[in-house]
Symmetry: C2
Subunit: 376 residues, 2 copies
């Protein structure tokens, strides 16, 4: 195997796939990155128990040659040393691998050798039928993930709740995440050739959003029973799926509100953030909300040890009962308010012990539920 | 006590003095910040066992009123909660303290109370005679600290080596730091009204450089047996001194070099940084240097497990013997090379087991010694 590659692109591909590689794996070969030089491109792969990331460097980028393959072949090299090394090498890198799997990397007057592994020992990728897939804007997908994935459960006690449930139907995609105390729901109209529900680990989706940060084009999604694959021109992420049945959440969005208010999203976020100052002294970050004089929202939090904080904010619209008093986990409120871009939100209260429903005004594709906590 | 202050300036002062405050102190009052409102200004103080930081907010900044004191007085408030709170309060803050030492902070429609301590219980500041002091440019002082403080010992085994020795003489200031394996020495001509040597903890100097990052004016320095004080218009840092005798280092700079080379500073830094890739597998980050063909510097590092790296760099000037071979701690080399701004450096080698001397070309105010390690 022998090729020349611009260090800039090689570095970027290695950095991206390194995110999937764990140094703690019991199999030394999985702490490595698989590099394959073919006649068309250079393929770089990193993986762990949950995800596989593949990056492709073509011969040319924007009409400039960045890769020259002199001899096709493959090798697996330590992710840790390869990524540190390539980051520090200037200009063009000339990589050759001998029959002992020792790679030599040359750049200017710098010569490095790295002991490698036989690429045959690296696990093969899951096989996928690319024929049935969904295409959507990567920015749409990232937004859906950002608006839901934070709400998953951090506890492995119910594994299905550590993932985001992605439900593909003929005309729409729905993402749901919950930790059973709060729930985020997001819908998007798409034309889907695939139907089915897939529980995707939030950690995989988190990696995906990081990988796709600068991507603006289309993304293809296809799935099997055990894997879901997200693919752009240069990047492919395979994620395992979580097995099990996701709870049915359709019945949770009760429309029987006792009180409904409309407030400014950012202002409420700032107020709750301030109230959380003392809320951290509580088990559930208790922040208390009530309606004052029938026209203002009063947000309070206190700790007998340290002090208290209290502020009032205008309510833009109010309907229903005005004797509202409820305690909520301030960190859940902050997460939800950060996920909403719209200027105003509508909050529906069903009663002191009923979950509140938050929806952006003028957008019915997002809903968020938060269960109250007992106030003392 | 009652005053109104612009939150921007109050926040900045509290953030700065908070750096001195430890939450782990056994005395609750020391986890607080002392606030004093006088007729002229607002004084904010934070401290720990090593340093005290004092910030002064005047009535006016750039001709704009930022402070209005309605009733003089003082209080001590929790550093943790005060700094988090003030960062989140908008506009002007109205602070009042009642007879129970409960502070009320109001901003817009936000009302907060914080339980405080009696200011009388806060330790008094060390008294200083400001009459004999040194004045120097703060940027000069910061540069001297940045070029030396990194070289101190991290081990408390010899306490004096954890500090920078600041030697004030009539016409110059000299700073020296060493961990007994490497030594940094920097000199600056100043007119000094003070004479004496003071061992200042590197941690205090590190805080000082952070505090002074955006300062460009003059700094006053004065000292007693137990404290050294650095003072600008708005900021004062008191640091305890380390007791003991600092080793005499004057005899260490041997001028009997066997080989002297001049090389490009940045290029050597990059090369050593690359060589450190495998060097971390060694106990002492071994990087090996030798002269190749009498005209090039060869830098190598290897690990039998992982691989090896080798590069050659041009030598700009060479005098003395050309059979040089020495192993050094790569991290010490990197630290020293980063401290030198000049384009070229001269390195003097006394032999395989003698310390090397590094000096910037065209500047004899900085010297750096590094002892070799045994190569295997």
């Amino acid at each position: 195997m022998e090729f020349l590659v611009e260090s800039e692109y090689f570095n970027r591909a290695i950095t991206d796939v390194s995110k999937a590689v764990s140094q703690k794996t019991p199999f030394p070969i999985l702490s490595g990155i698989k590099i394959m030089a073919t006649k068309e491109s250079l393929i770089v792969i990193g993986s762990n128990a949950d995800i596989i990331i593949e990056q492709v460097i073509p011969m040319e980028i924007d009409g400039v040659q960045v890769l020259e393959v002199k001899e096709v072949g493959s090798v697996v090299l330590s992710a840790k040393y390869l990524s540190e090394l390539v980051r520090k090498l200037p200009g063009k890198i000339h990589l050759t691998v001998n029959e002992k799997q020792i790679a030599t990397l040359k750049a200017d007057e710098i010569v490095t050798t790295l002991n490698g592994f036989h690429a045959e020992e690296y696990p093969t990728l899951p096989s996928m039928e690319e024929t049935t897939h969904i295409r959507m804007q990567s920015t749409d997908l990232i937004e859906m993930i950002n608006q839901t994935a934070f709400a998953v459960s951090k506890s492995e006690a119910r594994a299905v709740l550590t993932g985001v449930n992605m439900l593909f139907e003929e005309t729409k995609l729905t993402c749901v995440a919950t930790n059973s105390h709060r729930l985020a729901w997001r819908e998007l109209p798409i034309e889907s050739g695939v139907s089915g529900a897939f529980i995707v680990p939030s950690t995989s989706l988190h990696e995906l959003t990081k990988l796709m940060q600068k991507t603006t084009g289309m993304i293809k999604i296809f799935a099997t029973d055990r894997y879901i694959v997200f693919k752009t021109n240069s990047t492919t992420l395979y994620s395992r799926l979580i097995e099990g049945n996701y709870p049915n959440v359709a019945g949770l969005f009760s429309k029987n509100a006792r009180t409904m208010i409309t407030v400014n999203t950012k202002q409420l976020l700032k107020g709750v953030d301030r109230a959380c100052l003392f809320a951290s002294e509580w088990k559930n970050n208790n922040v208390h909300m009530e309606i004052k004089d029938g026209l203002k929202l009063k947000i309070t939090s206190n700790s007998s040890e340290i002090g208290k904080i209290e502020e009032t904010q205008p309510i833009n619209k109010l309907s229903g009962e005005t004797d509202l008093s409820i305690s909520l986990d301030g960190s859940f409120l902050i997460d939800a308010l950060k996920a909403i871009k719209e200027e105003e939100i509508k909050i529906s209260f069903g009663g002191t012990m009923r979950p509140i429903l938050m929806e952006p005004v003028g957008n019915n594709s997002y809903m968020h539920l938060i269960s109250p906590v007992r106030s003392c």
